[in-house]
C-alpha cells in the first residue's frame, strides 16, 4: 500500500539554522496524522516544503506513491495538496465566496459568474458540513468562520490532502470541538489530514498517528492508541514535563490595579465595557475568563491607554492613569503581553535584540543622552535569549524569521524581565509547546511571588484554573462574578461565561 504523502530524508537549511534535518514523514491514506514538536522544531518549515513554498535542500517527496517535485503552491494544488496556514491568507474586503473561488473563478462567456460561485460554495459547504455565509465579507465574520473559509478554499481546489498548521491556536474551545468534527468528516470522505498542534488533548481526540520531531530531527512515529499524553510530551521535549501549579500561598498585598465604574466604547461606538469594577492585588494572579468578544480586548486596551475611556477611572499603584498616554502608563508600571503577537507585540523587521528593548530603548542603561548603547542592548538580548530559551541563530536575526512560538518567547522575555508592577498577559501561551508553557507559567508564578500583580486573560480554562488565585468572569462587558478556582470547575465557569449567575437563572 502506498502512502498519501511520503516525505523522505528532507533537509532544509536557513541562514544559521538547520530547520529540517533528515526528516521522514509518512501519512497513510484516510488518516489524521499529527505533527508534534517544540517551537522551532521545524514543523511549519516541513509543511511549507510540502506545499511548495520552500525547496528542500535534500530529500524526496512522494504523493500517492508517485515521486513529485513541488516547485510552487500551484503545483501542490495540482497534486491535491491544500494548506490552511498558521496565519490566514484571506482578503478582508472580499466576500466569503469571492475568497474561495479566487484564482479559479467560474466563468460565463469569459466573465466572472458570481451567482454560480455562490452556488458552488453553498454546495461544498453543505456537503462537508462547513457552515459559512457565502455573501458575507471576510472582515465581518468570526475567526472560526474564517478558518472554515480557508478549509473550503482547499476543498474547492479539489484537495484530498489537507495540511492544518496550528489551526486551533486562534480558536475558542467550542470552535475547536467543531473543527475536530469537521476534520473527522473530511477523513470519512476520503481525505487525508496533517494536523500541527501543541495540544495533546486534540491529538488524542482527533488523530490516528503522530510524528514527533525535535530540533529538526525525527524522533518517532507512533499510533495514538498505543501511547499516552505524558509519554508523548516527554518524547517531544526530551525530558519529563512538570505541570506548574500555583502552590504559593495566596497572600494578597496592596491594591495595584483599581478599576472603578469603567465604561469604554468599541470601534463601532457601542458601549462594550459597562460599569466594570475590578481590583488586582500585588501577589496575586487574577484570571479573566469569558467567551471571546465580551470586552476582554477593550478592557486591556483601555488599561494600556490604547483606547479612550468614556467614563470611570483606572489606577495603577495608586496613580490615576485614566486616558493617559501609553508611555506614561508603561512607566507607571505596566507590562503587557498582547494577544496578537505579530501585529502588536513585535516589530517583525527588527532584530530579536532590538525587539527586546521595545519599551526601554530610551532609558538607562540602554541609552544615554539620546544615543543607543548597542553593546548593552546586545548583552541584554543575549542574556534573555539564553534565559528564556529562544531558539534563534543569534540576537541579530529578524523577529520575522523566528517560529511562531519563539516570537512569543521574545515578548514574554521582554515583559517579564522588566518585572512591572502590573503584568497583563493576554493569551500568553498561545501557540507555545508544552515545555515552553510550563516555563512561562513558572515565570508568571514567580512574578506573583515577587509581589507583583498579574492579570491573566486566556481562553484556556485549564490555564486559568491552574494559575489564578481568583477568577473574574467577564460577560457582556462587566464582571458577572468572581470565583475561587479551588471551589469551581469548568462546568460552573462555562455557565457563568454564558451569563448565568450562580443560584439565579
Amino acid at each position: 500500500m502506498s502512502y498519501a504523502i511520503e516525505m523522505r530524508h528532507i533537509r532544509k537549511e536557513f541562514p544559521g539554522i538547520v530547520a529540517n534535518d533528515n526528516i521522514t514523514l509518512q501519512v497513510e491514506e484516510g488518516e489524521i496524522h499529527a505533527l508534534f514538536g517544540e517551537n522551532g522544531a521545524g514543523k511549519s518549515t516541513l509543511m511549507n516544503v510540502l506545499f511548495g513554498l520552500y525547496q528542500p535542500d535534500q530529500g524526496e517527496i512522494y504523493v500517492h506513491g508517485k515521486k513529485a517535485v513541488i516547485n510552487d503552491p500551484n503545483e501542490a494544488t495540482r497534486l491535491g495538496i491544500g494548506m490552511v496556514h498558521q496565519h490566514f491568507m484571506l482578503i478582508d474586503k472580499f466576500t466569503v465566496a469571492e475568497n474561495i473561488i479566487l484564482g479559479r473563478e467560474p466563468r460565463k462567456h469569459g466573465i466572472l459568474d458570481l451567482a454560480k460561485a455562490v452556488k458552488l460554495v453553498k454546495e461544498l459547504s453543505e456537503k462537508y458540513g462547513l457552515d459559512v455565509d457565502p455573501n458575507k465579507k471576510v472582515e465581518d465574520i468570526t475567526v472560526g468562520m474564517q478558518q472554515r473559509v480557508e478549509i473550503l478554499k482547499t476543498l474547492y481546489r479539489g484537495s484530498d490532502i489537507i495540511i492544518f498548521d496550528e489551526p486551533t491556536a486562534v480558536l475558542t474551545p467550542i470552535e475547536i470541538q467543531e473543527l475536530i468534527v469537521i476534520m473527522k468528516r473530511l477523513v470519512k470522505e476520503g481525505k487525508s489530514i496533517i494536523l500541527i498542534t501543541h495540544k495533546l488533548k486534540e491529538i488524542f481526540e482527533a488523530c490516528d498517528r503522530c510524528t514527533v520531531i525535535r530540533r529538526g530531527r525525527n524522533i518517532d512515529t507512533v499510533a495514538i492508541s498505543e501511547t499516552n499524553p505524558s509519554d508523548l510530551a516527554s518524547m517531544m521535549v526530551g525530558r519529563k514535563v512538570n505541570v506548574q501549579i500555583n502552590d504559593a500561598p495566596y497572600e494578597p498585598k496592596e491594591r495595584i490595579l483599581e478599576i472603578d465604574h469603567l465604561n469604554v466604547l468599541d470601534s463601532r461606538k457601542v458601549n462594550v465595557i459597562k460599569d466594570l469594577n475590578l481590583t488586582v492585588h500585588g501577589g496575586e494572579i487574577l484570571g479573566i475568563a469569558g467567551v471571546d468578544g465580551n470586552g476582554q480586548t477593550e478592557l486591556i486596551e483601555a488599561i494600556a491607554g490604547l483606547r479612550k475611556v468614556r467614563d470611570g477611572s483606572i489606577k495603577i499603584g495608586g496613580r490615576d492613569v485614566t486616558n493617559q498616554k501609553t508611555r506614561k502608563i508603561i512607566e507607571a508600571g505596566l507590562g503587557y503581553i498582547p494577544e496578537d503577537r505579530q501585529k502588536h507585540g513585535l516589530v517583525l523587521d527588527f532584530s530579536v535584540g532590538e525587539n527586546m528593548v521595545l519599551q526601554t530603548y530610551y532609558k538607562k542603561p540602554y541609552a544615554q543622552a539620546g544615543i543607543l548603547k548597542n553593546k548593552v542592548i546586545t548583552k541584554k538580548a543575549k542574556q534573555l535569549i539564553e534565559e528564556f530559551d529562544v531558539r534563534t541563530p543569534n540576537e541579530k536575526t529578524l523577529a520575522r524569521s523566528l517560529s511562531g512560538g519563539n516570537q512569543q518567547k521574545v515578548i514574554v522575555a521582554r515583559e517579564v524581565d522588566r518585572s512591572p508592577q502590573l503584568l497583563i498577559a493576554a493569551q500568553p501561551t498561545r501557540g507555545l509547546d508544552i515545555g515552553a508553557i510550563e516555563f512561562i507559567h513558572g515565570k508568571l508564578l514567580e512574578e506573583k511571588k515577587k509581589g507583583k500583580a498579574v492579570l491573566l486573560v486566556s481562553f484556556e480554562l485549564d490555564e486559568i484554573l491552574h494559575l489564578s488565585d481568583r477568577i473574574a468572569v467577564i460577560y457582556e462587558g462587566h464582571i458577572i462574578d468572581i470565583v475561587n478556582p479551588k471551589e469551581t470547575d469548568e462546568n460552573e465557569l462555562g455557565l457563568l461565561m454564558a451569563g448565568r449567575r450562580k443560584g439565579g437563572a
Binding site: 503587557y336 501585529k343 517583525l348 527588527f350 530603548y361
Partner: protein, 357 residues
C-alpha cells in the same frame, strides 16, 4: 564557516540587483548607440576619461553629486521610516529660495554668520515643507504621496511669485548672492581648472554621516524605524506614532532643503524663476532606489548619476553621440532597478534549476 558563507551570499544577492541594473543599463545604452550608428565604446571611453582624467569634469561631477546625494538621502530617510517622500523636489525649491533670500536680505552680515545662517535657512524651509505633509498625515491620515506632490506645485509657484515680486532682477532671476554667503571657492575652482565645485561637498559628507548616525545610533532613530516598520507595535510599546511621522518628514525635508541651498549658495549663486521642476528631487528617488536606501549606497548612486550626466557632455564631441542618450541610459538603469524583483525571481529560478540537475 558554512553558515557565514551563506550569510555572505545573501548580502551579496541584495547588492547584486543594483549592480546588475547598472550593467544592464549600460549594455542596453550601448546597443542603442550601436543600432543608430555610433561607437558605444568610444562614447563610454570618453565619459570615463573625462571624469577621471580631466580635472574640470571631475570637479563638475562632484559638484553635481552634492544635490543628488542630499536629495537621495531625503528620499531614503523617509523610506527607512516607512514613508514615501515624493516632495523632495518642492522641498528643494523652497530650500533654494530661502537660502538665496536669506543671503540677499542679510547681505551686510559677516561671512561666518551669513553663510551658516543661509544654509540653515535652506534646511529650515525644506523642513517646513516636509512638516506640513507630516502633520496632514498624522492628524488627518492624508496620504503623504498625494500631499507631497501637491506641495511640489505650491513650492514651484510660490517661489516664482516671491522672486518676481520681491527679489527680481534682469534675466528672470534673483540678484546674485553676496560673496559672504557663497560656498564657491577660488581654490577649488583652480584645483579643477575652473569647474563650479564648491564647499557644499562638506555639507553632503556631514549629511551622509548624520543620516547613518541618526537612524542607527540614536533612540529617535530607533523610534523612527520602529514606527516605519510597524505603527501598531510601536503604539503598543508607547511610542508616539503621529509625532514620529511628522518628525521623519521634517528631517527628510531638511536634507532636501539643504540640497536646494547647495544649488543656491554654491553652484548658481542665485535662483531663476522656474517654470518647471528642477528634476533633482525626482532623480533623488532614483538615487535612493539604486542606493538601497543606505547612506553609502546613496553616495555611490549619486556619484554614478552625476558622472554619467557630466561625462555625457563629452560624448558628443568625442563620439558624436547626442547627450540625450545619457538620459535614456539613466532611465534604463532606473527601470532595471525597479524590476529588480524580476531579476531576483529569475536568479531564484536559475538556482533551483541548478539544484535539480
Amino acid at each position: 564557516m558554512k553558515v557565514n558563507a551563506f550569510l555572505k551570499k545573501i548580502n551579496w544577492m541584495t547588492l547584486l540587483i543594483p549592480v546588475i541594473s547598472v550593467v544592464l543599463g549600460l549594455v542596453c545604452g550601448a546597443v542603442i548607440m550601436f543600432a543608430i550608428g555610433y561607437n558605444p565604446l568610444l562614447a563610454y571611453q570618453s565619459i570615463i576619461e573625462s571624469i577621471f582624467l580631466q580635472p574640470y569634469y571631475g570637479g563638475e561631477t562632484i559638484r553635481a553629486m552634492i544635490p543628488l546625494v542630499l536629495a537621495g538621502l531625503a528620499v531614503a530617510f523617509a523610506f527607512r521610516t516607512g514613508l514615501f517622500n515624493i516632495g523632495v523636489e518642492g522641498q528643494l525649491m523652497v530650500g533654494w529660495f530661502a537660502s538665496v533670500a536669506c543671503a540677499i536680505i542679510f547681505g551686510h552680515l559677516p561671512k561666518f554668520i551669513l553663510l551658516p545662517m543661509s544654509v540653515v535657512a535652506g534646511g529650515a524651509a525644506g523642513a517646513l515643507w516636509g512638516f506640513i505633509p507630516g502633520l496632514l498625515k498624522a492628524r488627518f491620515k492624508v496620504h503623504e504621496v498625494i500631499s507631497t506632490i501637491m506641495m511640489n506645485y505650491i513650492a514651484l509657484y510660490t517661489t516664482a511669485y516671491l522672486i518676481k515680486n520681491f527679489l527680481y532682477t534682469e534675466g528672470e532671476r534673483t540678484p546674485t548672492i553676496p560673496q559672504a554667503a557663497s560656498l564657491s571657492s577660488a581654490f577649488l575652482a583652480n584645483l579643477t581648472q575652473g569647474s563650479r565645485l564648491h564647499w557644499g561637498f562638506v555639507v553632503a559628507i556631514i549629511a551622509v554621516t548624520a543620516m547613518w548616525f541618526m537612524l542607527w545610533k540614536t533612540t529617535k532613530g530607533y523610534e523612527l524605524r520602529a514606527v516605519g516598520f510597524s505603527p501598531d507595535a510601536s503604539e503598543y510599546a508607547g511610542m508616539n506614532v503621529g509625532g514620529n511621522i511628522i518628525l521623519s518628514l521634517t528631517i527628510s525635508g531638511i536634507f532636501a532643503g539643504l540640497a536646494g541651498a547647495m544649488e543656491g549658495l554654491g553652484t548658481y549663486q542665485y535662483m531663476t524663476i522656474n517654470s518647471a521642476f528642477t528634476g533633482i528631487g525626482f532623480n533623488g528617488i532614483a538615487v535612493a532606489l539604486l542606493g538601497l536606501n543606505t547612506p553609502v549606497g546613496v553616495t555611490l548612486a549619486g556619484a554614478l548619476f552625476a558622472g554619467l550626466q557630466t561625462g555625457g557632455m563629452t560624448m558628443q564631441s568625442n563620439a558624436g553621440v547626442p547627450v540625450e542618450l545619457i538620459q535614456i541610459i539613466i532611465a534604463l538603469i532606473i527601470f532595471f532597478v525597479g524590476s529588480g524583483y524580476v531579476i531576483k525571481w529569475a536568479a531564484d529560478r536559475l538556482k533551483r534549476k541548478g539544484h535539480k540537475s
